[in-house]
Every structure is written in C-alpha cells, then in structure tokens.
C-alpha cells in the first residue's frame, strides 16, 4: 500500500511517498503563499519521480502550517505528532525531539511513536529558521556557509534581545562595530540554540535528543545546541523530511 505525507511549511512544502515503510520518493518545493498549490505541485513531483499516478496512493495525510488548507489529504495531523511517529521508526531510542521550523520551534517528549508532552516557543521569545536566514542575508553569507563559518569564531558575541526582530538590530550594530562575521554568525546560532534548549527543558530534555527540520543541516547550529544542552544530538538523515515522513507513516495506519 502506498501512502503520502505532505508537510506544508511556512517556507517549503515537502512530500514523502511510502510503500509500507519504504520511502519510494520525495520532493520539496517553495510554499510561497498558496499552500494548496504548493502541496499539489510537490505531490505531483514526487509521483512523477516514482512513476506513479495519484490513484496509486491510497492515503494522504497533511501536516505543517498549511495542513488544513490541503484538500487532497484525507486527514491532517500536527508536526509534533508526525515527528514522534517518524522518529520511532528511524531512531526509536529518542525521547526528546527538537523541531526547528521556519517560524516556530518545538520540543516534544515521546516514546514508541507516541507524543507525551510538547512545548512551543512563546511570543517575545520566539526564534527559528527564518531568523537565521534573514541574518545570513544581512551578513551577505549564503545559508550553507553559515555553519562552517560560525565554527571559525574565536571570541563570542551575544545577542540579548528576546525578540528576534530586535536581535536583528543587535546584529546590525555588531556589523557596524566591525565584529568579525564568524562571531556574529555564532551569536546568531547561540541565540536560537538557547531558545530551543529551554523548550527541550520544558519537556524534560530526556536523552536521547534528536534535532529535525532543515536547520539540522547547519553544523554550526548543531554545535551550538550540543554546547547548550551538554549532550550529544542525533540528526536523522534528511532532517527536513521528518514531518512529511511521519505524516506518511500515520497515513499508513489510518
């Protein structure tokens, strides 16, 4: 039986096609401001990749910020539930998952694919992927360079504003005071790492801890989270597809 998970995020939309629990195709497109469209084109792309027609897929489950907007899905679940399910398959020993999306960071406590508790960032203390992206733009550094660059930092600048918008202006002043880029990038990572760490602590931060979401490709950020929580961090393969995978797995059960 083939199932699809469609994760319509703020920034990107991801699709995972499953045959039982074997991934047969994946796709990722920019969401833009039309979630339905994004979901459809991502799904079509994945189907084309797997040389399948839509009817070959028996169940579709949507997740992500646009989950309710996607009419092709039989049902939708939240990212948190999807993450718990996916991690149970990939890394069953994981008890805490940190999911950093574009605009929202979450931490969840899970066991055997069941979500036991979760925490989401509050207003005023928010901060997630978009912040790091915007800062990359301000610093004129490509997103992929950020990780490596931050690891070269010798000193450490800090960003103190709770609100990421004002953290942006702190970065601007750091630029004006000629602080080395590497240090600024490290400060940016540390700021978000600190926020997600306190989310993880709200749900107990029980090891093992996994980091998912596109940001988990950023070695500098992973390093920052490790330093903050003083434990090792598991990063699953293709961390940005975890939500979609989880949704596809749930589709299989329904």
């Amino acid at each position: 039986m083939n199932t699809a998970g469609v994760d319509i995020g703020i920034k990107t939309t991801k699709v995972v096609l499953l045959n039982c629990d074997k991934i047969i195709a994946r796709s990722c497109v920019l969401t833009g401001w039309k979630p339905q469209q994004a979901g459809e084109s991502a799904l079509t792309a994945a189907l084309a990749d797997a040389r399948m027609a839509r009817d070959d897929v028996t169940q579709i489950v949507a997740t992500g910020a646009g989950r309710q907007a996607f009419s092709l899905a039989q049902r939708n679940v939240t990212e948190v539930t999807a993450d718990a399910r996916a991690l149970a398959l990939l890394h069953p020993q994981v008890r805490t998952v940190i999911d950093v999306g574009a605009e929202e960071a979450r931490a969840l406590k899970c066991t055997a694919g069941r979500m036991l508790d979760f925490a989401v960032n509050e207003k005023c203390a928010a901060g997630a992927g978009v912040f790091i992206e915007t800062m990359a733009r301000t610093l004129e550094v490509s997103l992929d360079e950020m990780g490596a660059l931050s690891l070269q930092a010798v000193g450490a600048a800090t960003l103190n504003s709770q609100c990421t918008v004002f953290a942006e202006s702190e970065v601007v002043s750091l630029i004006h005071t000629q602080t080395p880029k590497a240090e600024i990038v490290r400060a940016v990572h540390d700021a978000i790492a600190g926020r997600v760490a306190s989310l993880a602590r709200r749900v107990g931060a029980e090891p093992e801890i996994a980091l998912v979401g596109g940001i988990a490709h950023n070695i500098g950020f992973i390093d920052a989270v490790k330093r903050e929580l003083a434990v090792d961090i598991i990063v699953p393969r293709d961390p940005e597809f975890i939500g979609a995978l989880g949704a596809a797995l749930i589709a299989r059960e329904s």
């Binding site: 509050e122 800090t158 103190n160 004002f166 002043s173 005071t177 600190g194």
Partner: protein, 342 residues
C-alpha cells in the same frame, strides 16, 4: 558551612541576616541570555527574575546558604515559590512586608513579620540572633550607607561608569570592605562638550554599564538617581537606639519607596521633582526593564509631573543588556535636543 545568603531586593533586612552570622549579598542579573530559567518563567517576566534564577539553575549560586525575598511585585512573588520548588533543600524565605506603608498598622505588622523571619532563620540554621548582634549589624550597615552617601555627595568627580561600579559592587561585597575602601578616584573621561548635560536616572535597578558608558562617551553627567540599588538604598538610616527590630521596621516604612508600595499618591512625583531641582538637572532618563509593571505604571504620572515643569525626559526600555545601537541613537538625540534648547 556556607555563610552567604542572597537577596534580589533591598527591602530584605540585611542587618538581620548579618546578625544571624551570614553575609547578605545582592544577586544581580548577568549578561548571559537565560536558557534554563525560561523553562520556569514566561517570556513576559522581567530579565531580573529570569537572569538571577537562570544563574541559580546553572549552579552559579551554589555557594549560597539561602535566598531571601521581600514582597514587592507579582513576578518576584511568583519567583520566590518557583525558587523554593526547584531547590527544596535551600533556605528560601519571603519577608512579606506591608504594601500600605501609610497605614498606622504597617509598622506594627512589619515588626511581627520580621520577628517571624528571625525565628525562621534561627530554626533553620540553629543560630541565635541576639539584640547585641543586631545592633552591631545595624551600626555596620549604617556606616556603609553613610560611606555610599558621601561618595554620592562627591559624585561630580566621578564618571558615570565609576558611579555605576561603586554602587553595584557595594551591595555585592561585605560592608566592612566598603567602609575600609574609600573609592579610588580615577581620571574621569573629559566631557566632549563645554557644558556637560546633567541627567537624573530613575528605575528599578541598573545592572550593566552600557548606559553609563554611553553617557560618558557623550559627555553627559549623572547627577542623581532613583534606583533600588542606587540612592534609594542609602537615603535612610536605621536608628541605632531602641529595639533593633522596631528600628529596622521603621526604616523600611520611611525610606524612599519603590513603586510596588504605597506611601502617598504623589509621593514619587514630588520626590523626583525635588531631585531634579536640587541637582539642577537638564533632563530625566527612565531606565525601565521590559515587563516591569510597577515602574511602567508610575511612568505616566511621573512624566506628567515633569511635563508640568517642562523638564525633558526619555524612556529607555531595556532587557538584560541595553542594545548599544538603539540606546545610543535615543540618548544622542535626547542630548542633541537638550543642547539645542540650551
């Protein structure tokens, strides 16, 4: 045995803690963004609560035998219980002082509450707080207040940053040291304008030197302040004769009040106007912590009073560390405005 007891608010009776054989030290926020405290405190609580508790959770305050709170604002009221829940073994007490300081019964109540606090100390640590010990402590802390007061009287000779450091170290170091060490006068930075603008600072506490540093850079002078860890701390002494507990209580109800407490409707406004006039200040800077309700509440009436006398004022809302960029723009513009008018 650990002999330090920490406190956040200067309404905590240092003399009693000292007389019980401990050295009371003020816990001050640091500049590291909190990452542990945020698991206990919402993002809309002030940085004082979040940073101080974060240090405790990070094990940076393990040398404290206890933490004592004084009843002030809603956030610290909550923090006291959170602290106790996180450190069940630790001595965590709140001296629930009166809010209605003008009430004829406030002082009597506070005396009883202070005696309860003494008993709590004695019971938990198996110590005995004698009147003689209390009197000795009172004398010691009075001398420290006097020392700070005369440093303060000579504060024109000091740069803003030096003022900041003296005031802040004062509450973190044993009183004897302060008394011994007459602050060393270093060369203050030469003001970059002929007539340095004189400023009055007002707020809850000031815990990091960004603002004083910028004021020095811009050649402005702090001529007076109204901070919990500034002038409010030493403006009133404890009577050295009579019953020591009653004397301590009397000081608490008569000292310059914090906005968490009520003395008279216009008390703080009148006090601020007098500070400005007595020091011929050019302007007032409100140094407010984001999410500090009591001070935010007093801002409209205080600014109304200043507007009435055409005294310029500026509001700086800060978190742990004042953001250099934004703070500097606001301050520079404020000073440009004042000197244009001069």
């Amino acid at each position: 045995m650990q002999n330090k007891i920490g406190y956040l608010c200067t309404y905590v009776p240092e003399e009693i803690i000292h007389a019980a054989g401990f050295s009371p030290v003020r816990i001050t926020p640091n500049t590291a963004p909190p990452t542990r405290a945020d698991a206990h405190l919402q993002s809309y609580t002030c940085c004082l609560a979040r940073s101080c508790f974060d240090q405790a959770l990070a094990g940076k305050l393990d040398d404290l035998a206890g933490v004592v709170f004084a009843h002030t604002c809603d956030t610290l009221q909550g923090l006291a219980d959170i602290w106790r829940a996180s450190f069940p073994e630790l001595f965590v007490e709140t001296v629930v002082g009166p809010v209605a300081l003008h009430s004829p019964h406030a002082q009597k109540y506070l005396v009883a509450e202070l005696r309860r606090f003494v008993a709590a100390l004695e019971e938990h640590f198996g110590v005995c707080v004698t009147d003689d010990a209390l009197r000795a402590s009172i004398r010691l802390y009075n001398t420290r207040r006097l020392t700070l007061a005369d440093f303060y009287a000579r504060r024109a000779e000091f740069s803003a940053v030096e003022w900041f450091h003296v005031m802040n170290t004062a509450l973190a170091t044993p009183p004897q040291e302060i008394v011994d060490r007459r602050p060393v006068i270093r060369q203050s930075p030469t003001p970059n304008s002929q007539s340095p603008i004189s400023i009055v600072l007002i707020g809850a506490t000031i815990d990091e030197p960004t603002l004083p540093q910028i004021l020095d850079d811009l050649g402005a002078r702090i001529v007076a302040d109204d901070f919990c860890n500034g002038a409010r701390y030493f403006d009133t002494l404890v009577a050295e004769e009579g019953d020591p507990i009653e004397a301590i209580a009397t000081r608490e109800v008569t000292r310059a009040t914090c906005p968490c407490k009520h003395r008279a409707l216009e008390y703080r406004a009148e006090r601020l106007l007098n500070i400005v006039k007595d020091n011929r200040a050019d302007g007032v800077i409100f140094y407010h912590k984001k999410f500090c309700d009591p001070h935010a509440w007093d801002y409209p009436p205080l600014t109304a009073a200043l507007d009435g006398e055409e005294i310029p004022h500026l509001l700086l809302e800060v978190e742990q560390v004042a953001p250099v960029g934004q703070t500097r723009v606001r301050l520079e513009a404020f000073l440009e405005m004042i000197s244009d008018a001069k």
